[in-house]
């Protein structure tokens, strides 16, 4: 028995590799659970489609679409006699009343919708998870304070607040994302996440961490919050839906200073009086359908994730 064989028996595996393997294994199991549900797969498919849709726009602009004609904000097609023009090989979804290509606008806006949705979801989740974990962990006055604040925030109807804010300042994409994120972060999402955190707080591994000398900060951020992340991810999906929807409604009423988005496209349609006309369907339907399908996709993925996160909802 030489030294060499012993060494091979106890090969040193770095910690990160162990973690990576564990992560990949849980990812595989969760994916199998997620894939069981056709609804979630449909949602994911739609999101991927829109992702590719957004990516295709800069490529098209740099290759086949001359920017003078196809620029989503400032383009104008001189060779078409009357705008809005119906769909043609030149403009696959027609042009809007200002002579801009509808398909180009639709694709250009997609990335901003994604950015808005994801930014407000991240803001919400960071706020809600931190507050939920902290107030569940400490309880007492901190808990009371944040929960009463949440009660207060959910008393306010959402849209009027956004309308007041838009009268107050210029509301662009980033401001809108922050406001939506903060309002839903301090409101309903916190309450749900806190109740989940309460259930995790009494689990034995938290006690074990405390016994082995873990501080409050360590327990909250290394034990409590990682276990809250699945449910946070679930609520992210619903926030994305709400954010895209709010942007569309606000832009529809012309209350934002966003240059181009799906809501702005519908607003333009309304401003030029084409809103309720069926003969100019390409002005309204592509943008509305895009809003609906993307919102529905995130919502469906959220619902499917619900079944992954919550074992009681799974099929036996």
């Amino acid at each position: 028995m030489s030294e060499g064989t012993v060494a091979t028996q106890h090969t040193y595996v770095p910690l990160w590799r162990v973690r990576l393997n564990l992560f990949l294994r849980s990812l595989r199991t969760n994916w199998a659970l997620f894939a069981e549900n056709p609804i979630g797969l449909i949602g994911l498919g739609i999101i991927i489609f829109f992702g590719l849709f957004a990516l295709a726009h800069p490529i098209l602009m740099n290759t086949v679409w001359p920017s003078k004609i196809y620029d989503p904000v400032s383009g104008y097609d001189m060779e078409v006699a009357f705008h809005p023009a119906p769909p043609s090989p030149r403009h696959l979804l027609g042009t809007d009343p200002l002579g801009r290509d509808v398909l180009s606008q639709l694709m250009y806006s997609t990335r901003y919708e994604f950015a808005l949705g994801i930014l407000s979801a991240v803001v919400t989740v960071v706020i809600a998870t931190t507050i939920g974990a902290v107030s569940a962990y400490y309880g007492g006055i901190i808990d009371t304070l944040f929960m009463r604040l949440a009660d207060l925030v959910i008393m306010v109807p959402f849209l009027p607040i956004l309308i007041v804010l838009s009268a107050l300042t210029e509301v662009g994409m980033i401001e809108l994302a922050l406001v939506i994120g903060i309002l839903s972060g301090f409101g309903g999402t916190t309450i749900v996440i806190k109740s989940q955190a309460l259930a995790i707080k009494v689990k034995p591994f938290i006690e074990a961490a405390r016994v082995s000398g873990g501080g409050d900060f360590h327990i909250i951020f290394r034990h409590l919050i990682p276990n809250l992340l699945p449910i946070s991810l679930l609520y992210m999906m619903f926030v994305v839906t709400g954010a895209i929807f709010s942007e569309a409604v606000l832009s529809f009423f012309g209350l934002t200073t966003i240059q181009m988005s799906w809501g702005i496209m519908i607003n333009t349609t309304q401003l030029f009086g084409y809103l309720l006309r069926f003969d100019t369907w390409w002005l309204l339907i592509p943008a509305s359908l895009a809003i609906t399908t993307l919102c529905a996709a995130f919502y469906l993925v959220g619902r499917a994730l619900d079944e992954v996160v919550n074992p009681r909802l799974r099929r036996r």
Binding site: M155, V164, T292, T293
Partner: protein, 383 residues
């Protein structure tokens, strides 16, 4: 129990005070004031500001408003000067309630029923189809949904009138105001709903299922006929019919927009309570599937869904600005939007605080109900 209720009431009062302060601060942050909408000389503008009380220091305006609110006086509207805010709100109330209350109730009933069905028959095409349809309806962009419905049923099929509250030709020389008819319709609807509930309650002890069903259907028909006869005898039946015809499309839109969420919630709650041991027991006892579904699973699953209904009902009052715009059904949402646009501060504060009070009441009633049903809630841990 009394201590519990008292504590909730005190907590509610504190929350209300904070809420009032919050919305007051928010409204004060608006950039200019009502007088800026008049193109008049500075002295006249100063007079307007003085008349409306806008020249006073902020703390005095705040104290005045709070004192008025405590005495249930919401002040006077700037835009409809000198009408009190309460009258502005009350004048919009019938049309808001007539559109959004039935839509909310119908959406909840349908959502609960459909959620129950698809959770029970899990994994079929029905589940995928119903989920996709309801989520697509739920996430539809309201103007677009309204547009589709208007075009299909109003323009293309010409089944229903579109836009506006009423048809002016029918209402020419009408003996009553629109609001009077709306209130009458609301009363009829409420009466029918209460009558239906009473009928369900009265016949629930009839054991023979055939007889029970016959009694329920017969009773509902009698109620419907009675309402029909009443409106016919009143002489304003055609006017009411006109309002109802205009109501169908917006009501359908709000219904489609809102039932999906209830359905998904009910489905999740059903799946959750399907796992309980008493369901297994019920199956072991050999109870028929329908009884297990309705009496054991749905009974328990419905509680969180009804709690959501109670919490969302106050927001019915604000309505949906988008639907009101598309169908030109000018109700509370439009009033709030106008008030914000013209800096009609008392009306903004009035509507928001009425909604706030109702939300708070719903919370307190729910808390007390839960505490009454479940004693564990009454005593917080460690007390």
């Amino acid at each position: 129990m009394a201590r519990f209720v008292l504590r909730r009431l005190v907590r509610g009062a504190v929350a209300l005070l904070l809420f009032q302060t919050l919305i007051f601060a928010l409204v004060q942050a608006l950039p200019y004031d009502f007088s800026a909408f008049f193109i008049v000389s500075p002295s006249l503008r100063a007079f307007i500001r003085e008349e409306l009380g806008l020249d006073r220091p902020l703390w005095e305006q705040y104290a005045r408003w709070m004192w008025g609110f405590v005495r249930l006086d919401l002040g006077r509207s700037f835009l409809y000067w000198p009408a009190p805010v309460s009258r502005v709100i009350l004048s919009r109330l019938p049309r808001t309630l007539l559109l959004f209350l039935p839509a909310a109730v119908l959406a909840y009933l349908f959502g609960i029923w459909l959620g129950k069905e698809i959770a029970w028959r899990r994994g079929g095409m029905l589940e995928v189809g119903a989920s996709l349809f309801s989520v697509a309806a739920y996430t539809s962009f309201a103007p677009w949904l309204g547009f589709v419905l208007l075009n299909v049923f109003g323009w293309y099929l010409r089944w229903l009138p579109y836009q506006r509250l009423v048809n002016p030709n029918v209402w020419f020389n009408a003996p009553v105001t629109v609001d009077r008819v709306l209130i009458g319709l609301l009363g009829t609807g409420g009466g029918l709903f209460a009558g239906g509930l009473g009928l369900w309650w009265a016949t629930r002890r009839i054991t023979d299922p055939l007889l029970r069903r016959a009694a329920r259907i017969g009773g509902l028909t009698a109620l419907g006929v009675a309402a029909w006869m009443g409106w016919n005898a009143s002489g304003i039946g055609p006017l009411a019919a006109d309002v109802l015809a205009h109501l169908v499309l917006p009501l359908g839109t709000v219904f489609l927009l809102s039932f999906g969420e209830t359905m998904m919630t009910m489905r999740a709650a059903m799946l959750d309570s399907l796992r309980e041991d008493y369901v297994l027991t019920a199956r072991a006892k050999g109870l028929p599937g329908r009884v297990i579904r309705d009496r054991h699973v749905a009974r328990n699953a419905i509680l969180p869904v009804l709690a959501r209904l109670a919490l969302s009902l106050p927001f019915v009052l604000v309505g949906s600005l988008v639907v009101e715009r598309v169908f030109m059904w000018h109700a509370m949402g439009q009033a709030l939007f106008d008030a914000i646009e013209f800096q009609d501060i008392p009306v903004i504060l009035g509507i928001l605080s009425v909604v706030g009070v109702l939300v708070l009441l719903a919370h307190i009633v729910l808390d007390v109900l839960y505490a009454w049903l479940d004693p564990r809630v009454r005593y917080p841990r460690g007390e």
